[in-house]
Symmetry: C2
Subunit: 360 residues, 2 copies
């Protein structure tokens, strides 16, 4: 049996090298336009140096499970998902006005500080925003470039493309619904779950698995008993469990592990599933505390601690933990009869644990 850490790490190191190799080629292209581009390049390189590489891992094992042979081509194609993800992080942090990411200042904050240090003209905030928009766009463009330069044959790429397209449209839809939900104040559990479905579940787990399978030549039909249906049966509950773990870490996690300050979701007014459950279970006075702090940009450590207490005492944490366990069990059970190789079954079971039992 592959250990959870092994399933993740054996892909991660190879994805890391593939990204480094891709970046060193891009560095030359950017340099030829001017060495002023290097601070931007260094910033995205710094962001890409960290990361759990979960999406590439699911893509890789989706391929292996479908009978695809190991090789550098699938690693490169899978690594392209990390560029897509980095793009989403840069733009998300800007939209959420987040100060940190992966333990470093977020990209827009880095360039805001850069502008201020140089005493340049105009607003540092506008400069930071502009740089983050452009660098996120570059990362998004690179996704396709790395995917197509993976070395996989044309017919494999042709099978994979519609899945990659769908994945990007779905993550867009999830982000859009999230933004709309925050603005319109739609705090129902149902709408929180739909955002999770699009922004996380499909994007993080189901579609990377489907992409790997499509690249390997698995049929595009998702008939019952087929591989794609099995990946969905594994990926959908696991994605929900993954997001619930994120919800809990955002409020209760150690910032040194998560790379984000505690309480960010509350401060940003995110209608997470954890908060929706807490709100639904809360007594009158508990609900008043949640309502007071949710979306308060000035929420401090003391306020976060109050919200934390309410969430715990409402029973929402226990309910979320129970949901995580149930969903992981459901995901792993879906693998039992899945038409995948034994090695992939073990690795996917390991990944299910790695994705949901993490500290950061």
């Amino acid at each position: 049996m592959t250990s959870p850490a092994q399933a993740l790490f054996q892909v991660r190191d190879r994805v890391d090298s593939a990204l480094r190799e891709f970046l060193s080629r891009q560095r030359e292209v950017l340099l030829s336009a001017g060495d002023e581009l290097m601070p931007g390049f260094e910033a995205v390189t710094g962001l890409l140096a960290a990361g759990k590489r979960l999406r590439p891992a699911f893509c890789y094992w989706g391929w292996r499970g479908a009978g695809g042979a190991d090789g550098p081509q699938i690693i490169r194609a899978a690594a392209a998902l990390e560029l897509l993800h980095a793009s989403a992080l840069v733009h998300d942090d800007l939209m959420d006005a987040s100060d940190t990411r992966r333990g470093q200042p977020s990209l827009h904050r880095q360039f805001e500080a850069y502008h201020a240090r140089h005493h340049w003209q105009g607003s540092p905030g506008a400069f930071g925003m502009g740089m983050a928009i452009l660098l996120g766009d570059l990362l998004l463009s690179w996704t396709d470039e790395m995917f197509h330069a993976s070395g996989l044959p044309d017919e494999a790429l042709r099978r994979g493309r519609p899945v990659l397209d769908l994945m990007r449209t779905e993550v867009f839809a999830g982000q859009y619904l999230d933004l709309l939900g925050q603005a319109a104040g739609d705090g129902t559990l149902e709408s929180a779950l739909r955002v999770v479905e699009y922004k996380t579940t499909k994007y993080t787990i189901e579609r990377p698995l489907h992409l790997g399978a499509a690249l390997a030549g698995a049929g595009a039909d998702a008939q019952p008993g087929g591989l794609l249906a099995a990946y969905s049966a594994y990926g959908l509950p696991l994605g929900t469990a993954f997001q619930l773990r994120d919800d809990i870490l955002s409020v209760f996690g150690d910032p040194a592990q998560t790379g984000k300050p505690a309480g960010d979701d509350v401060r940003e007014g995110k209608h997470t599933v954890l908060l929706a459950i807490a709100r639904a279970r809360a007594t009158g006075p508990q609900a008043a505390i949640i309502d007071r702090y949710l979306g308060d940009p000035l929420l401090d450590e003391a306020g976060t601690a109050e919200v934390r207490t309410v969430i715990t005492e409402s029973g929402a944490v226990a309910e979320c933990e129970a949901m995580i366990s149930r969903h992981v069990a459901e995901a792993v059970a879906a693998l039992a009869d899945a038409p995948v190789t034994a090695e992939a079954r073990d690795a996917l079971a390991g990944l299910a644990v790695a994705a949901t039992a993490r500290d950061g």
Copy 2:
């Protein structure tokens, strides 16, 4: 001889239909995630309804000039460039805090107003920004999707991809250098010309031509006397002329034709070639007027008129018009011995005029 209008319009109408067809398919994909996505879809549809389709026209004639046969596939591949361009416009308007585009409120302003109308939570500005970031990302993702779903054979797409990749990296580089130049206050003519080279010349004319040629199977080498070299010899001066016309229209154009308020470049502190020439030719008092208004967010109609007078009286407009004529003549002369079909030579000569003699 093809008239300038014909060369543009015969491609434009077909690009318009290809875009409408693509959008109607995407509408279904977005609807399946939720009908809340429709306002976003309508906004990008509105933006895409207008446009000169210059980049698709150059791509199409780049293909035809290389001997490619007419057909719906090349129109669809060329039309994908319009999605890339729309993405750049949405993000550019946000970065420049522009209020209008193509005669309509810019996308971030539309959603700012939408938020305010609904009396939603949070800041209308942040909501508008978030929507513009996401919709620009969607348009950027669609670029690849439409390009690959064009129906061109895999080997054609494989030849075209590196050009599309380079084009996107170059436009990123141009936008980055532009943003940096505005912040660092680098107002030299040399740096203005480098921004034009990357942000406009290569992106608008040279690379679309090269993309068409690569799709049609023209060799990737740019040897003297070859097709790609001929397209560069035509495209580079023409791109500069195109941008100079834009510089003039931005200050002197009729907003009803340009779709943008007059004086935007001055208000935003853009170091355009026109302004760099005016600044270099200005007397002391004239220079003081330029320096007072350049980058002034409160620049009004009276201030714009003052700047206009200085630019004209410095002789900068006459110098720019002479540069435009010289560059267009150089571009058209480069076609004389170019190894392209006679029909393409006529169309490209027509496009050179259409791109530089326009009112908006």
